[in-house]
Symmetry: C2
Subunit: 421 residues, 2 copies
């Protein structure tokens, strides 16, 4: 039986007709390898921005349903053009939108989740030797309503298609050469990872890597679809393979170091130590769609019977967050609200730390030796994050990189601008 | 029961967001009249040209299927934007593409004919008080393949929807104020028609009126859908109502005078008078998709046993036609081939001429008095056309306009440029 490879090309890879011709070449190369190929594409370059701009000119708050109707046209253009480019090279190609394939989603607009993908039409066309081009980012409900999948949607479409078709692999073509969490400004000799586990990729992604949306990695992990991230312009580079940790040949306890400089810390002081206060606070933030990252609640002070609640958010949500807190302040009887946006979250990530004790203490000791003050700590099974002053971020990353022996195949990822020190 | 009005807006009416806001106002006005409204829109302004240009950059001869996939995205944009504009004004609106409605067509790309339109989803949404916005120009096959309807497609979509929904009327909004077949260069006091029959409209359309594609008029006639052609920018003007002749209050024997200056005449001389020669000739032209208008075959000359075949074509097809004839000449043993493109077809059109004898002779006498030489004549039930020298077109139209008493409500339509005389 022939192997199925799913390929995904993002908006920059199909931004104009010349780039679409290049994509056609990449697709044909995979077909010539003797594989069946299903290609998922996003909308061309700035199409989505242009459509959103027109929508905003007509309505301050366009309905989700009509917005999805509108945005789904973007992939409609790119799939047809890519199919034409493949046909022009003498290959039998056919494009399908989500409705034609049957990419079934929940009946939620702008961020629907995929429920099921019909494969009969796809398999029939693959059996006829055709290259199939599918619209990413979009889906359809049982009632025939068009939905879109939200951020990272096309990656998720590709992974879900690979899972449904039991594909050999899902290749995500992008404008970087792999999972490059290394920031050369910090660690000049860091290089791309050849292999990384789903779990590490997830933690790196959440910690600041912009290569893949966590959602597509989660889907790949759930269905054990091997993912490859690679450049559509440098085909000699195999990029980074993302797969289950059990399939990895060997891995170090720490695979990467990440720094996220885009967060702000908020401390709500002197909150009464009564039940429901934290719930009130965080559900009010959730209602405004504000994502909270690290949370620390101090022990209640015996005398005042109050405590402090500290948490971090995306700095872009700062004014929205303060507005929520201002309204809530009296209701929950809170004291001062303190804001600090001169902070950085430094994380070490590695599936290997699960069964290797002492990793956390090594991290804390390393930072202590540098005189770096740790403001908050959070941990998961494969990640340890420390909140430090922004000015300490660079030396922290460098020191952790050295202490965990991450000379060349290991990675420091920085999100946001490092301060000059 | 509430009446259903179908409205259709072409590409120039939805060319930008300001124009879409204007369309929303027109739609809302009809809704405020207490009617249920179904709106059909074309793609925005130059969208189609832009899409075709990209397709041509990728493939010299893109497949019809992918071309239809590509072009159908154009209406996808305009329907969503119009629905948003209606919602922004506080009206409940919903957009549907052809696949969602179920506008079923033949499985032919780029010029499919509508077979059936499902109305259950439309009726359900109208019953819920919604304004429905439907994508024109596109359809879907039983197998879920996307098709387009070819030239005049959106008008045909609107008329077919009106027929399927048993609508009160189908209003075609355009950039002219009605069926203005009058060319002010010829007859300054001619004005728009308030009413015209389907049959007259068809003859006027074929004779040069560009307001409506004959195909949509044919569909309207078949299902007895009253059509109104009017301007989306001048709502105080009711435009022109096109309906069955039996519903018209009164009509003159001649409703309009048309001149078509875009034809060329070809004479194939000395063709042997044997069976099958004309069939050979015209099937060869049909194969090249060349439309032939007037045809005259002379009586066979007794001595040579040959005759001449004369016919007219669109002057744009002239070189293609001559290439066909050059190949065919020896095969059918024809003599010289003569070309004359300094000709004009002058027609009078009117449903009233059916039961009023003497119209044709009045036309011929009028032209004879002017010294105009009639080269060819063709007649239908409601049209008489004379081929004259191009230089005689203007005075012929003026004289016919006077003799048939068409001072104000009657029409001269000129296609192509009149020569200065």
């Amino acid at each position: 039986m022939r192997k199925i490879i799913v390929q995904k090309f993002g908006g920059t890879s199909v931004a104009d007709t010349d780039k679409i011709k290049n994509v056609a070449k990449v697709v044909i190369k995979e077909k010539q390898n003797g594989n069946d190929v299903v290609v998922v594409v996003s909308a061309m370059g700035h199409t989505t921005d242009h459509l959103v701009k027109m929508a905003k000119a007509l309505s301050p708050n366009p309905s989700g349903r009509e917005m999805d109707m509108l945005l789904s046209t973007g992939e409609g253009v790119s799939i047809a053009l890519l199919a034409m480019a493949l046909q022009a090279e003498g290959y039998d190609a056919v494009s399908f939108n989500a409705m034609q394939v049957g990419i079934l989603t929940e009946n939620i607009h702008s961020k629907a989740r995929i429920i099921d993908i019909k494969t009969d039409k796809l398999r029939k066309n693959l059996d006829e030797g055709k290259i199939i081009v599918v619209a990413g980012f979009q889906g359809v409900t049982e009632d025939g309503e068009i939905t879109t999948l939200g951020r990272g949607g096309s990656d998720t479409s590709a992974v879900a298609l690979a899972a449904a078709l039991n594909a050999e692999r899902c290749d995500i073509y992008t404008d970087v050469e792999g999972v490059y969490t290394t920031d050369p400004r910090v660690v000049p000799n860091a290089s791309k990872l050849d292999e990384v586990s789903y779990e590490e990729m997830l933690e790196l992604a959440h910690a600041g890597a912009n290569v893949l949306h966590p959602r597509s990695v989660e889907t790949a992990k759930q269905f054990a679809v091997p993912l490859r991230v690679r450049s559509s312009f440098k085909l000699d580079n195999l990029g980074t393979l993302i797969l289950g940790v059990e399939k990895m040949e060997l891995y170090k306890p720490v695979a990467g170091v990440a720094a996220d400089l885009t967060q702000a810390r908020i401390v709500v002081c002197d909150v009464p130590d009564t039940p429901g206060v934290a719930a009130n606070l965080f559900s009010a933030l959730a209602k405004e769609n504000i994502s909270v990252d690290m949370i620390i609640q101090s022990y209640a002070r015996k005398i005042s019977n109050t405590n402090d609640i500290a948490f971090t958010i995306d700095a872009n949500d700062l004014s929205k967050t303060l507005a929520v807190l201002e309204k809530l302040k009296d209701k929950i009887n809170a004291g001062d609200i303190k804001v600090d946006d001169e902070i950085a979250k430094v994380s070490i990530v590695g599936a290997g730390m699960i069964d290797r004790p002492g990793i956390a203490s090594t991290m804390f000791e390393t930072l202590a030796k540098l005189g770096v003050n740790i403001r908050m700590i959070s941990t998961s099974e494969i990640k340890i994050s420390c909140l430090v002053d922004k000015i300490d971020a660079q030396k922290s990353v460098k020191a952790l990189h050295t202490v965990f022996d991450l000379e060349c195949d290991v990675v420091a990822d920085v999100k946001g601008d490092l301060p000059d020190v």
